[in-house]
Symmetry: C2
Amino acid sequence: MNFCSNCGSSHLVFDVPEGDTRPRDICRDCGKIHYSNPRIITGCLPLWEGKMLLCKRAIEPRCGYWNVPGGFLENGETAEAGAAREVREEALAGVEIIGVHAIFSLPNFNQVYIHFLGKLKNGEFGVGEESSDARLFLESEIPWPEIAFQSSTFTLRHYFDDREKGIRQVHLGSL
Amino acid sequence: MNFCSNCGSSHLVFDVPEGDTRPRDICRDCGKIHYSNPRIITGCLPLWEGKMLLCKRAIEPRCGYWNVPGGFLENGETAEAGAAREVREEALAGVEIIGVHAIFSLPNFNQVYIHFLGKLKNGEFGVGEESSDARLFLESEIPWPEIAFQSSTFTLRHYFDDREKGIRQVHLGSL
């Protein structure tokens, strides 16, 4: 932040506001305190007849790698609606949200992933604009070294573990 | 947003960037796209010997009402560390996080609550700076009309339901 988004002043200091415990960007002219907080990446692992749908990323970062469909939660959305939207955008597919599966924090990147499990509607899907491919994988077919992010590896591994044990639970992880 | 926080220009338009699907604040001078996304409110319901710890808010909004300890997740934190910090700040208490309990979205306020269950360490607590009181409640003692937010009511009701059924699950809700 170089200028105050409220008054346009360049007199910003990074200091602890009165009554606060952490430094923030504060405008010396209008007094506005500018907060910065982690963002949510919401996603969904779509399931269909024992397989799961992954998308190959057509955009950076990790272009060309396979991923659980997901992206930044937008204003005005619930976490689950955002996850379903991402599946629609990246895999041109509808999902019925089953429930939360994982919360994975990346404190160094100020991001928190919320991953849901979903049921693919009618098993139909395509390749969205931000994807170069989309495919249903059996567990034995998952291209582990080509998974885009550790959040996705975490979600997939725990999904297979749970399925083998016949349980459903929510997994908490961080990097 | 009145001024570009990157270059200080007032030539901002609210328009859909190329390749995007939603309008954003875009600077006509430096081209910077300013994204705005929902914030996470992370919290924890501390449990101790069949009771649960609530804090009476000493700050607005909902000053004087009882609440599940919680607040905005900060940069650099995991969701669970943020929840434990909020309990420390609001109730001067340590908790051992048991697991996720509820994800409650407020799309009209661009907020997502993540509520954990936690075990109060040694049953000890106090009254933090942002609280005017803190108390362990039995289910029969919960002051339902004086609960600060619907996210907290949601978390408490589902906790009691689950406890009666002897199960633990994660609840998804929105308002």
